[in-house]
């Protein structure tokens, strides 16, 4: 995996909550035995009209947002299926980071991303950033009148919203995920260094296989 480096890029504002993995990559594109070629099918049903032409009203078809590398959405992005193809599609389209807000619901805080999607992102070098609801709103507001550029700084856990006056938002991230992304670590390689511990565990562990 390539180490994640700080970058400045264009933000694509996708004003939808609960964007599910069926929307991100529809089932007809899962019939592949490869890890590549998914970017062109990202958000297929929203990007393209039934006749196959691009739907001009969909945000990713806005010519001003060509080359966008940061996707900004609402709460619970990536819910649904465990298909890693969804992450491959987002990354292969050209996004290097996704931003979504946490949401306060009664006495609990609902995380910005669905669990499996967020986890799959971390295995593919795609950064997921959870910001506060009002911070994400500021990005959406700014995007109403101009093309928004953001700087994504993982090492210092900051997002900078560029404008007449830059605004900086801090974010929290799981320490293991941060280390994996910053160093570009291969999980399997890391775990295999613990082979002796796994073998010792297996010696005394009961799996009840009949």
């Amino acid at each position: 995996m390539e180490p994640f480096k700080t970058f400045r890029g264009i933000a694509a504002p996708l004003d939808r909550a609960n964007v599910d993995t069926d929307q991100i990559i529809a089932k007809q594109f899962l019939k592949s035995i490869k890890r590549t070629g998914f970017g062109e099918s990202l958000f297929n049903d929203w990007r393209f009209l039934p006749d196959g032409k691009p739907d001009a009203s969909f945000v990713l078809n806005d010519p001003k947002l060509k080359g966008a590398s940061i996707l900004v959405a609402r709460n619970n992005f990536g819910c649904g299926s465990s298909r890693e193809h969804a992450v491959w599609a987002v990354a292969q389209y050209g996004f290097k980071a996704v931003i979504a807000p946490s949401m306060v619901n009664g006495d609990s805080v609902v995380p910005a991303f669905a669990d499996i999607f967020r986890n799959n992102c971390s295995k593919n070098g795609l950064l997921t950033v959870e910001l506060k609801s009002e911070e994400v709103q500021q990005i959406f507001d700014a995007a109403k009148t101009a093309v928004v550029e953001l700087t994504m700084d993982l090492v210092n856990q900051k997002v900078v919203l560029h404008g007449a006056a830059d605004k900086t938002f801090s974010f929290q991230i799981d320490s293991a995920v941060k280390e994996r992304l910053v160093k570009g670590l291969d999980d399997i390689g890391t775990t295999l260094q613990e082979s002796a511990s796994i073998s010792a565990f297996e010696q005394k562990h009961e799996t009840y296989l009949g």
Binding site: D22, L30, R35, N76, E84, D115, E194, F201, H205, L209
Partner: protein, 466 residues
Amino acid sequence: MGKTLFDKIWDRHLVKTLPSGDSIIYIDRHLVHEVTSAQAFEGLRLSGRKVRQPKLTFATMDHNIPTDDRYNIKDPIAKEQVQTLRDNCKEFGVRLFDITGDDQGVVHIIGPDLGITLPGLTMVCGDSHTSTHGAFGTFAMGIGTSEVEHVLATQTLLQNKPKNFRVEFKGKLGKGVTAKDMILKFIGIVGTAGATGYVLEYCGEAVRELSMEGRMTMCNMSIEAGARAGLIAPDQKTFDYIQAKDRQFAPKGAAFAKAVEDWKKLSTDADAKYDRELVIDASEIAPQVTWGTSPGMVTEVTAKVPAPGSLPGYSAVDIQHALTYMGLTAGTPMTEIKINTVFIGSCTNGRIEDLRAAAEFLKGRKVAEGVKVLVVPGSQRVKHQAESEGLDKIFKDAGCQWRESGCSMCLAMNPDYLQPGERCASTSNRNFEGRQGKGGRTHLVGPAMAAAAAVAGHFVDIRSWK
């Protein structure tokens, strides 16, 4: 302090906690299917790695399989995926339940069917509905393809420990109300992200009274609330289910008796603490029907389609999007929504008890004119069982199509899918846009509600049916 059921399973499987904060968790059962595994096996091949524990790994094909002529996969890419699974299983020494055998079926149906699923284990599969197996008191979760490769290579996963969320269903369910209604009600309350970061433990009188099939339906949809997994403590019903005949991978005789003694220790300690708790009065739950494009967009069959801005947790824009996609008008009674397709099956409701519940409503009745009904058993075993009970005849006499097993119209990767604008009463688990076919409109319900809708041509409150 005491431990929860989940804490105990976690502790039994903790190999090591790394300096990064991740824990290495041992995996007891790995289920593999054709859609999410090819790239993982390819990864092993490229790095010269082997499957660490082939005997703990079980494969089948289910997502792509046609349910009419299963040996004749016309889609060349689907066919390649199925053949790739066969080749990979052979190369890496993994046991495969092929479509030519009687043990094939939807991966989450055959796990319990064959005795692969047992209490106190850790189970994973590259499929989010792996949570189904939690009905046995198993920590079971869906993973992505990178993690499939990780488990194949190391028989472990890197995990951060989720929190404990106790969901109690107190009291008894009313007549005609099922496990599907319980879980839809729960998702409606907490929302589709309401349990993100948690493992759910379902408990209470109404959960205890559910059959194993009902418990599997509940745990199956834990992921629709965002949970990492759902769990139900094992009890005598669990042990009886495992001991039934033909569960070839379950322990037998003295080994079974010893295992039961161990499994009885799994239940949550009296002084254990949960991070979050919710109590739902089971006696107040009515049959549920979804109206929107997310499983949390659900209401009672006696209610009306909600208006934008009328629900906490959903913006007016989100509700309007959903209503537009679904072709519904706010204020329409749910019972006035007409359907033209019914799907009975899936890992949520494709077990024998589900088919019996649907058949009970269809016996001696006819499907409404213009309604197409697909009945897809969850596994070949379920199919044979249903046929031995004469359920296939009831379905066919009523005008339903009786199919072979597979995931079918739940995710519509095979040739079973909706046309744009078609409206389906479905016993599956997701009503996302396009899930059952581009432009298709899905309403999630339980099997009896689906059968009743097939007969009436619209949703009905089955409690008022004779």
